[in-house]
């Protein structure tokens, strides 16, 4: 008999740039907050899973060492931008199966500055400039413009929406609103994407303690699904976004979403709010379609309807999204889950969505790893 899994406590460290703070220190802070909130101490949990990409050997072990809490199995998980989601999935499975009664899941990152240097690409591909991350986003955005009626103004308005939301989030790195004109006039990075349409890699940490659900008021992890690219969606180029070199659906995000809706026994119409991967403004619009929030080809119409606005029918990225928070790969998925936990408990002061009961969190990245997590209260 599989058990229902609840969140016992959360910890979040603000995202930003912190020259003086090591990644281990950031992870330690987030884990310590979550453990205290959950009332869990040394010897009280049976496994730990750490999502991180750039932190080196045994990073999660170093965090727990600094707290005097090693000895249990500690697994470091790399799944690109979905690393935190992949770690949470393992934690959920450990509780659900009955193997563990308490698990610590955390994620942390100190991203290198500038465009992400990824070992995902072969040296010859890098030498020839076939690895420009923002350009791949731009190509996918161009395809959306061609096929889904997306305009430059739509891209700009997504940025305006998320940055406006980010003003109300003290954990976000960028808390300044922009006008459509300012977004369009910001430096062109890769046409059609300007600087303010792209998220910034940065630093941060998040932690979550899981336990079996046994109280009516629990925030329950109703689904934690993970998918990667399908055979033939050749690793290397299009996989973070899919659909530029091979178009057959479904995308990894859609596969993960369908798994999650089925596991949770709900459909997209049952969601109250969504935190999704807005690596760039095109990616947010594409996610509306891939998460089945709207029919294929209708992401622009869905945005125009006002649904994803803060006061809309289905608010998207009320945290400000990655565009406001920045993206520390290992921490970003878990920070979405922390935000959703606060929202479902009515604790998201200043950006609270009223009557929020069911929320979805989504990340997707290299390897076309796509994670979809559904929380319910």
């Amino acid at each position: 008999v599989s058990r229902s899994v609840a969140i016992a406590g959360v910890g979040l460290r603000p995202f930003g740039r912190f020259e003086e703070t090591s990644v281990v220190e950031m992870g330690r802070e987030a884990v310590a907050i979550a453990l205290e909130a959950a009332g869990v101490g040394a010897g009280d949990f049976q496994a730990a899973f750490c999502g991180t990409v750039y932190s080196g050997v045994a990073a999660g072990h170093r965090v727990l060492s600094s707290l005097g809490m090693t000895g249990v199995p500690i697994v470091n998980v790399e799944a690109g931008c979905a690393s935190g989601g992949a770690a949470l999935r393992l934690g959920v499975q450990a509780i659900r199966s009955g193997e563990c009664d308490s698990v610590v899941v955390f994620g942390m990152e100190k991203m290198p500055r500038g465009v992400i240097d990824s070992s995902f690409f072969e040296p010859w591909q890098k030498e020839a400039g076939l690895n420009p991350a923002p350009a791949f986003f731009a190509l996918r955005a161009r395809k959306l413009m061609h096929e889904s009626g997306v305009t430059r103004e739509h891209l700009a308005r997504v940025s305006v929406k998320n940055h406006e939301n980010g003003v109300h989030n003290p954990y976000a790195m960028f808390r300044k609103p922009f006008t459509i004109e300012e977004v369009l006039a910001s430096p062109m990075v890769c046409d059609p994407l300007t600087l303010y349409m792209l998220c910034s890699p940065n630093e941060g940490a998040a932690a979550i303690v899981l336990r079996p659900a046994d109280r009516a008021a629990d925030v329950v992890v109703a689904a934690a699904s993970l998918r990667s690219h399908l055979p033939g969606r050749v690793l290397g180029e299009h996989t973070p976004l899919s659909g530029t070199t091979v178009d057959e659906p479904p995308s990894p995000t859609e596969l993960a979403a369908r798994d999650a809706y089925e596991a949770a026994g709900i459909g997209p119409e049952d969601l109250d709010l969504v935190e999704l991967q807005d690596t760039d403004c095109g990616r947010e619009l594409l996610s509306y379609e891939e998460l089945l929030l709207c029919p294929p080809g209708e992401c622009a119409a869905f945005f125009d309807s006002g649904a994803p606005a803060r006061n809309g029918r289905l608010p998207v990225n009320v945290s400000g999204g990655l565009l406001s928070k920045g993206e520390p790969l290992g921490a970003s998925a878990l920070a979405q889950v922390v935000e959703m936990y606060w929202q479902l408990r009515g604790e998201a002061s200043g950006r609270q969505v009223e009557e929020a009961r069911v929320g979805l969190c989504h990340t997707v990245g290299r390897g076309a790893n796509a994670s979809v997590i559904i929380l319910r209260r």
Binding site: R140, K143, P231
Partner: protein
């Protein structure tokens, strides 16, 4: 100065006079093309793909321009970047010779060209490929 390919097995030649082509893998079982060629078909896992020469003329599927050098890049900026659809039945991620997106559009005709990307430590010219607009518009 020697001319060497960016990667072995991707280009049939590194001299423009030699009718250079991109090389792809064609699966002996499912017949699908993939690029760059690999021994195992990435679509159906069949071993033993054949190497085939791709056509030089295609259409532009999506495009952008890169203005800032990505990590490890040894060529010049800006450079065009996009996906080209070839009538052989494959889309290729590629450099584009055109760096101004105002002069590119989805569906325009493009043609394969060789491109000298950088000089390596031995002084050799490392040759890659790009697609260039094939019509004046």
């Amino acid at each position: 100065v020697a001319r060497i390919p960016l990667k072995d097995g991707v280009l049939s030649a590194v001299d423009a006079a030699a009718d250079a082509r991109l090389l792809a893998g064609r699966c002996t079982a499912c017949a699908r093309l993939h690029f760059p060629p690999t021994p195992v078909c990435p679509y159906c896992s069949t071993k033993g793909c054949a190497t085939v020469r791709l056509g030089t003329d295609g259409t532009l599927y999506v495009y952008t321009a890169v203005t800032k050098a990505p990590p490890g890049y040894r060529g010049k900026v800006p450079y065009g970047f996009g996906v080209v659809e070839l009538p052989d039945g494959i889309r290729i991620v590629t450099r584009l010779t055109e760096t101004s997106t105002d002069r590119l559009r989805v569906g325009m005709s493009v043609r394969l060209v060789l491109e000298d990307i950088f000089q390596n430590e031995a002084g050799d010219t490392v040759v890659g490929w790009a697609f260039a607009p094939a019509e004046s518009s």
